[in-house]
Symmetry: C2
Subunit: 168 residues, 2 copies
């Protein structure tokens, strides 16, 4: 299925690592890319590029000023707008679409986002982490057996670290 | 079931928010507490205390210098030692114990941790986030329907924010 992530209100330096984790989770669970709003951050874009370069996949990150523009454009392309928020209904009740734009906020999410979303979904209803909420939602939508053909690949191991370098 | 988290090598200011997310995810998915090594951080401890005070539950955070001491003491109490690492075997193959100490590292995990663990498990085998890996592992072990009786409770909503203040 087609999944894109919208990360709202990225703030520097506060969200540097959290937004990086959001992007890496999105990639690992099979999303095609992430658009973020807030402060532009070439460091974030570069670090995700580096990961893709080494570990494979076509995941891309881009910046956009207006969240509304992103939501409207994905709506037009037939994507279901899913907003992850601790105030939403349980993710267990998610209606699974063919194509989804998944929105993860940082601290203050504008009320318009709640109205524009087709589904406002909560993972546990407790305060925790947009990184965790995204992983749980993506696993439900898209599983976690995605294949990446990169220069580096992990050879799963019971008690050590084994990484294969391919000739890609 | 009984679950405790061991967060390795907390660094300030770098891991402030990530370790907070780790602790909040642990709490939301029903772990009883988190021990962390690395740098002592009363800010981390206070912010989790504040969350528990408002949102309920008995989750506690404590500091310990030696990861080995924590692992040994939980082994003695009959806990299975589960280390989450991108180099491990797929979490889908997890053997589910009655009691678990779940270890999440930061960047460089000592090789001893791999040897001391009963299970080294990977969530996707790709580089992403210890916060996400923990959420996925905890959901598999412990589900995500945990009840918290706090001063604040979310009333799940399709399109807004509804929080109830109880008289606890």
């Amino acid at each position: 299925m087609e999944i894109h992530i919208l990360r709202l209100s990225h703030r520097l330096p506060r969200d540097e690592r959290i937004s990086t984790h959001v992007a890496l989770v999105a990639r690992a669970f099979g999303a095609d890319g992430m658009t973020y709003t807030g402060q532009h951050d070439s460091g974030l874009e570069d670090s995700i590029k580096r990961i893709c370069n080494n570990w494979g996949g076509k995941f891309s990150v881009s910046y956009e000023k207006s969240f509304k523009k992103v939501i409207t454009s994905y709506k037009k392309k037939g994507f279901e707008i899913i907003h992850l928020t601790m105030y939403g209904i349980p993710v267990q009740k998610m209606k699974k679409p063919e194509k989804a734009l998944i929105i993860v906020g940082s601290e203050q999410v504008p009320s318009e986002v709640y109205r524009l979303a087709d589904q406002n979904l909560s993972v546990t209803g407790q305060p925790h982490s947009e990184v965790a909420a995204l992983a749980i939602a993506l696993e439900r939508l898209n599983g976690m057996d995605h294949e990446f053909k990169g220069k580096l690949q992990v050879l799963p191991s019971k008690s050590g670290k084994h990484v294969i370098k391919t000739s890609m």
